[in-house]
Amino acid sequence: MSFIINPYVYAVAGCADSDANAFLTATGITNPTIASAICTLVTSMKADGTWAKCQAIYPFVGGNATTHKFNLKNPADTNAAFRLSFVGGVTHTSNGIQGNGVNGYANTFFPLTNYAQNNLSFGLYSRTNSLSGGNGADTTGTFFGVVLYIKFTDNNTYYSTNNFILNGNGNFISDSRGLFVSNRLVSTNSLLYRNGVLVRNTTSNSVAAISAINMALMVRNNGGNLIQYDSRQYSFAFMGQGLTPTENLNLYNTIQTFQTTLNRNV
């Protein structure tokens, strides 16, 4: 008796999902725990519909810049695939990426114009409880864009979803750890979720993206000027369409399971 084994299916740690396999192949990751976590992450997101809503997903696995740079949705080593470019002082560990608050950041090559005006999300999984800088991109002067300061040095949280960044700010986050998602589904309201739960609903009208500047991680790209570098450690980031309340909760549960598998959950 003989057996025929599909070499593709068994090429990378036994995951049958082609997207998960493409990412594992691109990163060269063979660690079975990470491979299994990636496989479960992708299949869970596909099952609940959040996979289709994301344009860029950065799971930050493998512990170095080369593995952390790849977009799970499109793991090509190109700017067009939104592969990250790390610049300045960024520390890479098995827990993810961490800026130094001085000059370290990642360019996502994801332009603000890639976002739909009223259907967008930007998520970050923070492992650090601290006051620090911002992430995202907006325009100079008018401050319209997609930005997330989980907790700035003035103790306030700032987030924007194609609206004015000062609308909705306040000291309403006591712990900057967890999954934070700036989210918009309608023209009139900008939402912030933490760990799948709505924590802020601001009435603030959106504007169409007026600049093609790129979204940044660990710094705010303010019209091409990089300001207010962030020193938190991040274990996950994503950008995509707006998420419903159910999708926000589902995605949090999926990401939290992923982080727990990797022993880096907060």
Partner: protein, 67 residues
Amino acid sequence: MITVYQLTPEQAEQLRGVQYVADMTFNPIQDANDTWIISSEEVSSTTIDWVKQLPAIEYIPKETLPL
């Protein structure tokens, strides 16, 4: 106190965009005194000898404007 490493303008230009380890590039910036600096992470990771000889100084960030 955050320690950073001082560059001349010419050195800053020389390092800008240069890879210091795989998939990470130098990012010279100016501090509050307009002195060019790079971070300790960049200096400790690079294999470029003259970069490792740069003088260490205290990081004085440019004033952060309120949002």
